[in-house]
């Protein structure tokens, strides 16, 4: 293949089990990708290392899920093909994960929201009828607990920090809040997962998430933002305007140098 020919996209199975796994994997991958953008840009060296650690944890979780999704799909796709060689509409992450990283307050609020959701998801997936998925969940849960605590501790400190940290937090919270509705937006894929014991419906996490995130807002003395009519649909493959730019950067190497390794 000549260097001017780009690696084509894979033909993805639409089986519900595969979509269910990819929704989770894609959310982890893009959370990791956005967090990794902080590497070399964090407010302090110590936090730079912390965010890079968390990014690598999330990308590791995504890898395990992609490898497993490839087996479940049965078309011979490996983790790299699933991560890098799909069209935009074949990614099924929570939309919030693909938003640009914003400032430190924005990143920490997003981490607190998504890592709480992920932690609750992993807790339930430990009892999955899919033994491989249950195993991945058991390992990921330990990491997710730390991710949630790290972000939550920062939210409390930014709320009670300086005028500037409070102002940035107050701006980030409602901006991100409108994407949380999607966290609990269940469809036929969720129903399938619930009926086969693969995992919970997204809607099953709602009460626990509101309780945990609400407790954090109380501790930080922040008001619960108002819900809006806006509805994001990344889990169904319909993405924000930011997705294409991120995929271009993420996919460039695999597209230009198929199977590239180092």
């Amino acid at each position: 293949m000549s260097a001017s020919t780009l690696q084509p996209s894979i033909q993805l199975s639409r089986a519900g089990e595969v979509t269910y796994l990819l929704r989770l994997a894609d959310t982890c991958l893009f959370m990791g990708q956005r967090l990794s953008e902080w590497c070399g840009h964090a407010p302090i060296l110590e936090e730079d290392i912390a965010m890079a650690n968390i990014a690598l944890d999330l990308i590791g979780q995504a890898r395990a899920l992609y490898a497993h999704a490839g087996e479940v799909e049965g078309r011979g796709h490996d983790e790299d093909q699933l991560a890098f060689l799909r069209e935009e509409r074949d990614y099924f992450n929570l939309t919030i994960a693909e938003l640009p990283r914003g400032d430190f307050a924005f990143t920490m609020v997003r981490n607190a929201m998504v890592c709480t959701w992920l932690k609750l998801m992993w807790e339930r997936l430990q009892d999955s009828s899919d033994a491989e998925l249950a195993g991945i969940a058991g390992k990921a849960l330990k990491e997710a607990r730390y991710h949630q605590q790290h972000a939550a501790d920062w939210v409390v400190r930014l709320a009670d920090g300086t005028d500037e940290s409070r102002r940035r937090l107050d701006a980030a919270l409602p901006t991100l809040w409108i994407y949380t509705r999607e966290f609990f937006d269940a469809d036929e894929v969720d129903e399938l997962a619930e009926s086969t014991g693969l995992g919970p419906r997204a809607s099953d996490l709602r009460d626990a998430w509101l309780a945990e995130f609400g407790a954090l807002l109380d501790e930080a003395q922040l008001p619960m933002p108002k819900d809006s009519a806006f509805r994001s649909e990344g889990r169904r493959g319909r993405h924000s305007e930011h997705m294409g730019f991120m995929l271009t950067e993420l996919q460039y190497l695999q597209r230009a140098y198929p199977g590239g390794a180092w």
Binding site: E46, I49, A50, N53, D153, R157
Partner: protein, 105 residues
């Protein structure tokens, strides 16, 4: 803003305090000093110590202590404090035979 930072001079007023980090590599061993870091408070000092110093499985437990809380000997006292031990070889318990069963003395 806490009392310590309020009382600090202008130069350091906006900086986070320094913390010394001690890591226990495995159960039964002592915590050993491994470095320092900046953190706004104790809870985050523990978290950041975990991220900076135990990311390659170096530890099972972490202690942190504010660097300004450590009382250290004065380097100028080095001669007076430590040199006199140089010729007191009899302080090492090596002048009698140990039973064979005793290892690692």
């Amino acid at each position: 803003m806490n009392t310590t930072t309020q009382n600090a001079d202008t130069k350091t007023r906006n900086e986070w305090p320094l913390w010394e980090v001690f890591v226990r590599s495995k159960a039964g061993l002592d915590h050993k000093h491994c470095g320092s870091l900046h953190a706004p408070d104790a809870q985050l000092a523990i978290q950041l110590a975990r991220d900076v110093y135990t990311r390659r499985q170096e530890g099972t437990s972490v202690w942190v202590v504010r660097s300004d809380q450590i009382v250290a000997s004065d380097p100028r006292d080095k001669d007076m404090y430590f040199d006199p031990a140089e010729d007191k070889v009899y302080r090492h318990p090596t002048f009698y035979a140990l039973p064979k069963e005793v290892d690692h003395m």
